[in-house]
């Protein structure tokens, strides 16, 4: 019986070996660059030192997780989550709003020109966006301070006052992403069957009625998928954004530091174990968020869930 089963496994393997061979490069890649580091999570439970290696380092159990919840990580975690929530809501609203207005344009050429202009920042790295921001905010020669000066106002040192940054970072995030979001929602709206609109007009629906009962429901699947994916990143901050827009200025950390920048600095400062613990919590929370959001979506409408 046993050998028979083994034989059939072997048969299946032989039958699939050609296809299996094609998956091999990718399997090796994921094993080495994704699963091997997952094993490295063990570092979070040790007092890791380079000289001792991973298994030579002292095992300390949950020490780092306790420190994590006592220290300034509360602030960092709060920043991360609040920024993520603001970004999720505002990028959804601005993209849908812009796409709806754009669908009202009669000239195809106009749509193309506007979309191309607004999508440009999407092709820039955060470093380039940071330089675009710096040309405005440079404390000494920046465009905004030049205007201030000519109007007789005082200079503002943007890079020394943390209070401005939640607004600046949110604005720049939308500036970079709204074009792509608009293009996607606009494409989804072009896929709506025009006869639906005609039927609604005959039934006496006005502009608002058609928007409320046809356009928005048609966009819901795209909105849900993008939101589920974004929820998985609730505890993640875009490193490029939070590191380079505020130019890694220490004075701004109170409002600009997120888990990802904190963990990166740990690499420089040698806080390996504490920051592995932070990264682990980030991953676990992200995992839970995706699964829970997906479950909720599935309860409401199974069609829209991710898996």
């Amino acid at each position: 019986m046993r050998t028979g089963k083994k034989k059939s496994y072997w048969k299946i393997f032989l039958k699939n070996k050609e296809l299996l061979l094609l998956t091999l490069p990718a399997l090796v890649y994921f094993a080495v660059f994704h699963y091997l580091p997952m094993g490295g999570i063990y570092i979070a439970f040790t007092n890791y030192r380079f000289v001792d290696g991973i298994f030579g380092s002292e095992f300390v159990g949950l020490r780092w997780f306790r420190i994590f919840f006592q220290g300034d990580l509360f602030r960092v975690t709060r920043n991360t989550v609040l920024y993520s929530m603001a970004f999720i809501v505002l990028s959804l609203v601005t993209a849908v709003f812009t796409a709806i207005l754009m669908s009202g344009l009669k000239s195809r050429k106009g749509v193309k020109v506007y979309q191309t202009t607004m999508i440009l920042p999407n092709f820039m790295s955060w470093i380039v966006v940071s330089l675009v921001l710096y040309v405005f905010l440079d404390p000494a020669y920046g465009f905004i301070n030049s205007i201030h000066l000519s109007l007789g106002y005082e200079d503002i040192n943007w890079y020394a006052n943390p209070g401005y940054w939640p607004f600046i970072l949110t604005f720049m995030n939308i500036w970079k992403s709204v074009g792509m979001g608009c293009v996607m929602y606009y494409a989804a709206m072009m896929g709506i069957d025009p006869s639906l609109y005609e039927a609604a007009t005959i039934d006496g629906a006005g502009k608002m009625g058609r928007l409320r009962y046809i356009t928005l429901p048609a966009l819901v699947p795209l909105m849900t998928i993008l939101t589920i994916l974004a929820m998985g990143n609730l505890f993640r901050g875009d490193f490029g954004l939070f590191f380079s827009l505020p130019r890694d200025v220490g004075m701004l950390y109170s409002t600009t530091d997120v888990l990802d920048t904190y963990i990166f600095r740990g690499l420089r400062a040698g806080r390996f174990s504490l920051n592995t613990a932070a990264g682990l919590l980030q991953s676990v929370m992200g995992f839970i968020m995706v699964v829970v959001t997906n479950l909720i979506v599935k309860k409401i409408n199974p069609e829209n869930s991710l898996f």
Binding site: L27, M102, T117, L120, F136, G279, L306
Partner: protein, 297 residues
Amino acid sequence: MVENKKQARVEQILLNGYFFICCLFFVIPMLLVITSSFTNDNEIRLYGYSLLPREWSLESYRAIFRIPQRMFDAYIITAFTSIVGTIMSVTVMALVAYPLSRRDFAYRKAITFFIFFTLLFSGGLIPSYIMNTQILKLDDTIWIYLLLHLANAWHIIIIRTFFQQLPYELIESAKMDGAKELRIFFAIIVPLSKPVLATIALFVLLGRWNEWMITLVYIRSERLYTLQFILQRLLLQAEFARSYMLNVPGIMIDSRALPTLSMRYAMTVIAAGPMLLVFPFFQKYFTRGLTIGAIKG
């Protein structure tokens, strides 16, 4: 009826006006970067950055190319890792996507899960850093650029979804004729899948061209710097311009004359320019790729 027409025209004018103003928010910043790169430093010190420099100057570009070797190295590294990296990535991802698109592949579910799971959970920056430097010894080599982001689960799912829509009869008849899987892949699947492969190639190329974080974390040798990384250093420390641009063994240059202010923006134009000129033309591919991606995995 006439009222309606008039109303519609007013509406179009208002909408166009709205989008025109929106676009100014995108055009003016980019123009300002370009004009600043053509302004000389003395003028910037006196009047700040402006959209209309009193005098156009090539000073910053001359300074950047005064020692062409630096820019040349960075361009070569960036272009090489972008092009070779993209070819490698698309090949590996398409190769794995093909079996995953085949319903008769016995390990389809297990392998899909193995790959998809990496989207949901990861070891984090520090464990990968330790693995890549201590065990794989990839730090400070060109391999780290090529291998670290070789495959992406999300891209694989997009390619697989596209492959699934191809008619299975084609594969079946090729198999009848005795063709090997690898041959079927290159002779039938790839030619029919150019749109999706081009989309993914563009995504990957863009990511690679804009790469600076790998340099920040893993690279120490100056000759392995990418363009974006040089830009990042110029943004964070003005001093970097002097030490990097002028500290080339065997060449002595007076560093007081270096236009550190406008140089940043000239460097921005040099690093971002190529992609910004090329990519808007591929916009419709991007849209298509993203909408394919929104199909349930």
